[in-house]
C-alpha cells in the first residue's frame, strides 16, 4: 500500500481501537498504587498499602483461595473428561459423531446466565429429591466450572489431534502396543502442547467465570470475581484496583505460559 494520508489515518484508527481495548486495564493497574483514600486522578502520591488491605478483607482472601482451588479441580476434571472425548470424536468413526461433538461444545454456546439459572434450579431439585446439598458448596461450583472448561479442552485437543494424524499410533499398535500403551507413549506426547493449552485455558475460564457462579456461590463460599462484583456494588476505590491487578497478573502469567503452546488467534 502506498504511504498516504489515508494510510496514516488507517493506522491511527487501528491504534485507537487497540488503545480502547487495553487502556482500561492499564488505568486500573495504575490506580491500584494511588495513595489517596478516595480515588483521585491524578493521585497525590503512590503506595502499596491497598494490596495489604485487600488481603485483609476476608471476602477477597477467601474468594481468591476458593477460585484457585476450584480452577485447579475444574481444570483436572475437564482434562480427565475432555481428552478421552476428544480422542473418540477425532480418531474414531461412529454414527452420531458430529452431533456428539456439538453437544460437548454446548457449554460454550449456551449463555452463561441461562446455564447458571438452569443449573441452580436443577441443584435445588436434586437437593429436594436426595437431600444432597449442591448449591453454595465447593463441589457444586466445581461441577459447573468443569463444564465451562470442557469445550476449551475439546476444541484445543481436537485441533491438536486433527493436525497430527494417526500414523504413529497405527505403527505402535501394529508393533503390538495395547490401547493404553499407545495413548500414554505415543498419542499423549504428540498432543502434549494441545493438552497443556487446554489446561491453561480451562484454568482461565474457571478463574474468571462469573455468571454461573453467581447462582451457585453462598456465604463463605465465594469466588474472587463474585467478591469483586459484590464490592463494586457499594465501593469504588484503590482496594478493588489492587484485587483486579492481582487477577490481571495471574491471568497474564498463565497466558504468557500458554503462548508457547498455542496460537492464541486459533484458540477461539
Amino acid at each position: 500500500m502506498p504511504t498516504s494520508a489515508g494510510r496514516v489515518l488507517f493506522l491511527v484508527f487501528v491504534a485507537a481501537v487497540f488503545l480502547f481495548l487495553v487502556a482500561p486495564l492499564v488505568v486500573i493497574v495504575w490506580a491500584s498504587f494511588f495513595a489517596d483514600k478516595i480515588l483521585t486522578f491524578p493521585p497525590s502520591g503512590y503506595t502499596l498499602a491497598w494490596y495489604a488491605r485487600a488481603w485483609q478483607l476476608p471476602d477477597f482472601a477467601s474468594g481468591f483461595l476458593m477460585s484457585v482451588q476450584v480452577a485447579i479441580c475444574a481444570t483436572l476434571g475437564s482434562l480427565l473428561l475432555g481428552v478421552p472425548a476428544a480422542l473418540a470424536v477425532e480418531r474414531f468413526r461412529f454414527p452420531g459423531r458430529e452431533p456428539l461433538r456439538q453437544i460437548l461444545l454446548a457449554p460454550m454456546y449456551v449463555p452463561a446466565i441461562v446455564a447458571g439459572a438452569a443449573v441452580y434450579l436443577y441443584f435445588v431439585q436434586v437437593e429436594i429429591a436426595t437431600e444432597v446439598q449442591l448449591t453454595a458448596t465447593f463441589p457444586g461450583v466445581m461441577i459447573a466450572h468443569t463444564m465451562v472448561g470442557l469445550p476449551w479442552t475439546m476444541r484445543l485437543v481436537c485441533a491438536s489431534l486433527a493436525t497430527t494424524g494417526s500414523i504413529a499410533e497405527e505403527a505402535a499398535q501394529s508393533l503390538g502396543a495395547n490401547a493404553l500403551q499407545t495413548f500414554f507413549y505415543v498419542t499423549l506426547p504428540i498432543i502434549r502442547p494441545g493438552v497443556i493449552a487446554a489446561a491453561l485455558f480451562s484454568f482461565i475460564a474457571s478463574f474468571t467465570e462469573l455468571e454461573m457462579s453467581l447462582f451457585l456461590v453462598g456465604p463463605g463460599k465465594t469466588t474472587l470475581p463474585i467478591a469483586i462484583v459484590n464490592y463494586l456494588e457499594w465501593n469504588l476505590d484503590s482496594t478493588i484496583a489492587a484485587v483486579a491487578t492481582v487477577q490481571i497478573l495471574i491471568i497474564g502469567a498463565v497466558l504468557l505460559a500458554s503462548d508457547r503452546f498455542v496460537n492464541l488467534g486459533k484458540a477461539f
Partner: protein, 285 residues
C-alpha cells in the same frame, strides 16, 4: 487401520463420562427450566404444577418486560453495529500484515482484555468512567468542566462497556474469515485502479459477508445475555435481560417467570447460532 483401533478401544467408553456431565448438568437443567417456564408462580408453594403459556405472554405483553426486552435488543444491536464498524478495519489490518510477529502480537492484544474476565474489565471501566474516575479527573484538571459529568450508570456507558467485551470476538471472527480470502483478489481490485479503501469495501467485504454475519450473531447474542456490564456499568436504573433473569430466579424466587425469561434468551441464541453457522458454511473460500 481404524478397525484395528476399534477392536482395542471403544469410543463409547471414551465419550460417555463427558457426555454424562453435559447431559446431567446442562441439558437436563435446561429441560427442567423449560418445564418450569410453563408452570405458574405460587407465593406459598413456588409452583402450581400446571401447564400454561402465561409467563411467555407476560414477557411479550407486559409493558415493563417488553420495554426491558426492547431496550436490551436496542443496546445489543447498537453495540454489535459499533463492533463491526470498529472491528472490520482492525481485522483486515491484522489479516494483511506481512510480519508474523506483528500478527501474533496484535492477536494477543485483542484477546488479552477478553480473558481478564467480566468482573475485572467492568471494574476497569468504572475506574475510567466514574465520577472521580480518569475521564472526569482529566477534564477537571484541564478545566473543560467544573463539575464531574455523569458517564457511569448511563446507557451510553453500557454500550461502551459492551463494545469492549464484544470487540475481541468480532475481530477474531472477522480476521479468520479475511485470512481465507486470497490477497490476489485485492491485487485484481487495485489493478482496476481502486484505492485501498475501495478495495477493502468493494472487493473484500462482500466476500467476507458470511464472516460479518457470524461476528454480528456472536456479538448480538453476547450483548443480549450480558450480566456484569449492565449491572456494574449500567447501575440500578438500566434494566436489561441478563440481570432480570438473575433477579427473578435468585431474589424474587419466581422460578416459572425467571425460567421463561431465560428461555427467551436461549431461543434468541439458538436461532442466531443456527442462522450464522448455516450461512458461514456457505462461504466461498
Amino acid at each position: 487401520m481404524v478397525e484395528l483401533q476399534e477392536r482395542r478401544l471403544k469410543p463409547g467408553a471414551l465419550v460417555i463420562p463427558a457426555l454424562l456431565l453435559v447431559s446431567a448438568f446442562l441439558l437436563a437443567p435446561l429441560a427442567l427450566i423449560l418445564r418450569f417456564s410453563l408452570d405458574l408462580y405460587d407465593p406459598a408453594q413456588l409452583m402450581q404444577g400446571v401447564f400454561s403459556l402465561d409467563n411467555y405472554v407476560k414477557v411479550f405483553t407486559d409493558p415493563f418486560y417488553t420495554q426491558v426486552l426492547g431496550f436490551t435488543a436496542q443496546i445489543a444491536a447498537l453495540s454489535t453495529a459499533i463492533c463491526l464498524l470498529l472491528g472490520y478495519p482492525v481485522a483486515y489490518f491484522i489479516s494483511r500484515s506481512h510480519s508474523e510477529r506483528l500478527r501474533s502480537l496484535l492477536i494477543i492484544l485483542t484477546v488479552l482484555p477478553l480473558l481478564m474476565g467480566n468482573a475485572v474489565r467492568s471494574a476497569a471501566w468504572m475506574v475510567v468512567m466514574g465520577s472521580s474516575g480518569l475521564i472526569n479527573g482529566l477534564l477537571l484538571a484541564v478545566g473543560i468542566i467544573e463539575e464531574p459529568v455523569k458517564i457511569l450508570y448511563t446507557p451510553t456507558a453500557v454500550v461502551i462497556g459492551l463494545v469492549s467485551v464484544l470487540l475481541p470476538f468480532a475481530i477474531i471472527t472477522l480476521q479468520s474469515v479475511i485470512d481465507s480470502i486470497p490477497a490476489s483478489l485485492e491485487e485484481a481490485g487495485r489493478s482496476l485502479g481502486y484505492s485501498p479503501l475501495r478495495t477493502m469495501v468493494a472487493v473484500v467485504m462482500p466476500i467476507s459477508l458470511p464472516g460479518i454475519v457470524a461476528a454480528a450473531a456472536i456479538c448480538f447474542c453476547l450483548a443480549m445475555n450480558a450480566y456484569a456490564t449492565p449491572v456494574l456499568i449500567g447501575g440500578p436504573s438500566v434494566h436489561m435481560m441478563g440481570p432480570l433473569v438473575y433477579q427473578q430466579i435468585a431474589k424474587v424466587a419466581n422460578w416459572p417467570f425467571g425460567s421463561a425469561l431465560a428461555w427467551v434468551l436461549m431461543a434468541v441464541t439458538l436461532v442466531l447460532t443456527v442462522v450464522s453457522t448455516t450461512y458461514l458454511s456457505r462461504r466461498y473460500f
